[in-house]
């Protein structure tokens, strides 16, 4: 029994020693590799900069190490560049086979390789890669598919919009950050392309992201769609969407939405947060027709609505200020404090 135990202990100790040895050897190899790469890097940076500035000599890419360093340096620089130098760098990467290699990488078996290939192509944004990016929208990995959608959106071209939108809808829950980036690229490059994402049958989180993007980009062509989002049927999700839409209408400054926002602000069946957003939007638009409803909402049950109405009145000129002055002598301490704060210059 004791001998068997001893064998087990010796066996375990050997495994631990071997594992430690393997870890140390791997780390040493990695450190050595990084040192070698660091030695090559300054020369590559100089040669690449000179090439981009117009000298005909290309940076060396004879060995795998030189190619790896060149790709790293190029990807780092390309993100900071646009115009002639960017185009020259993209041309260089195409000529040296980095783009075609990444295109092949999109059909690799390993997910990590496909993700890396998609990221490389997203950074380079070479038109030569379109043929590989389009089928990759169907990749089973959300990040690969959405990164490719982002790249196509960044490159523009109406031909990809439907496929990009479908990819965004499919993966919005699993990859919300990446889909938001793709939507932003789409909204910036194709200002009318986001319409399908504002439709009523789209999942509320996707719809809200799309609303935020068109609002932040101040795209007035979406105002009818934003008004529709505001007046959708009730329900918590719908109120969240409506609150985003109200913020958007306020940001863009839609005078045509004033009546709908007035109705929404005083609709007690809506959540306080959504009504508060509508009240704030009325303040941002600055139409004096909103004064009576906002004055009434100073006595709303929900404190968010009361606070938003007070702030909004401050943006409605003399009629709003007159209401706030009256509120500053209100019997309610809270209303008084809010009104006094809103009257501060």
């Amino acid at each position: 029994m004791t001998a068997a135990l001893l064998y087990v202990v010796i066996g375990l100790a050997t495994v631990v020693v071997l594992l430690n040895g393997a870890i140390i050897a791997t780390r040493a190899a990695l450190i050595q590799r990084q040192k070698r790469l660091r030695r090559v890097r300054p020369g590559t940076e100089t040669l690449l900069a000179e090439y981009l500035a117009g000298t005909p000599a290309m940076p060396a890419t004879a060995t795998r190490r030189e190619r790896a360093v060149l790709l790293d340096v190029a990807l780092e620089a390309i993100a900071d560049l646009r115009g002639e130098e960017r185009a020259r760098l993209v041309g260089l990467l195409e000529e040296l086979g980095f783009v075609s290699s990444a295109m092949s990488g999109l059909s690799a078996r390993r997910r990590v390789s496909r993700r890396r290939a998609a990221e490389v192509l997203a950074t380079i944004r070479s038109r030569a890669a379109v043929g590989a990016l389009t089928p990759a929208l169907a990749d089973r990995d959300a990040l690969v598919a959405v990164t490719c959608a982002y790249t196509l959106a960044e490159m523009g071209g109406e031909g990809y919009v439907a496929a990009v939108i479908a990819t965004i809808k499919r993966h919005a829950v699993r990859a919300p950050g990446a889909t938001a980036a793709a939507m932003l690229a789409l909204g910036a490059k194709q200002p009318s392309a986001l319409t399908p994402l504002l439709a009523r049958d789209v999942a509320p989180p996707v719809r809200m992201t799309a609303i935020e993007i068109v609002s932040e980009l101040r795209l007035p062509q979406y105002l009818p769609a934003l008004r529709a989002c505001l007046t959708d049927a009730g329900g918590t999700d719908s109120d969240d969407v409506a609150a985003s839409a109200a913020r958007g209408l306020g940001l863009i400054g839609d005078a045509e939405a004033v009546e709908a926002l007035i109705g929404f602000t005083s609709d007690a069946s809506r959540t306080g947060a959504a009504r508060a957003a509508a009240a704030q939007a009325l303040g941002s638009i600055g139409d004096p027709r909103a004064v009576p409803v906002l004055a009434t909402q100073l006595r709303a049950r929900d404190w968010k609505v009361r606070a938003a109405a007070t702030g909004a009145l401050g943006g409605l000129g003399d009629p709003g200020i007159a209401v706030l002055r009256r509120a500053a002598s209100s019997g309610s301490a809270e209303v008084r404090l809010l009104a006094e704060a809103a009257l501060q210059p």
């Binding site: 940076e45 900069a49 780092e76 900071d80």
Partner: protein
């Protein structure tokens, strides 16, 4: 005319340097904020191209250090900022930068802005 370029990405820095040299400027290079302050004080540049995001001292800290020193308090600065960061732009303008360029940027355009900034500052 002498231009100091403070940018931590070596490729971008050297590319901007090559462009400015081709346009007839003498160029000094700094790869971090501390080196930028040192070279601005000792190298007597006529203009500083300054990246906002840098190691050791960021762009704003560099500007503050330069504005406190009589040797560099009037040095015109063109700052490279992140594309969508309004705070960078407003912060830089508040600190008295001459101009800014959002990244990604065109070195050709930067060279034109350097020319304009030097002209405006009477150098």
């Amino acid at each position: 005319m002498k231009v100091l370029i403070a940018e931590d990405s070596a490729t971008v820095r050297r590319l901007v340097a090559a462009r400015l040299i081709a346009d007839g400027y003498e160029v000094l290079e700094a790869s971090d904020g501390e080196e930028a302050v040192k070279l601005a004080r000792e190298g007597t540049p006529d203009l500083l191209v300054l990246d906002k995001v840098m190691p050791k001292l960021d762009g704003f800290e560099v500007i503050r250090a330069l504005r406190e020193d009589p040797r560099t308090s009037e040095l015109p600065i063109v700052m490279l900022t992140e594309r969508t960061n309004e705070e960078d732009v407003l912060g830089g303008l508040d600190l008295g930068i001459e101009d800014y360029m959002p990244k990604p940027f065109s070195p050709h355009e930067l060279s034109a802005r350097v020319r304009r900034a030097l002209r405006r500052s009477g150098r």
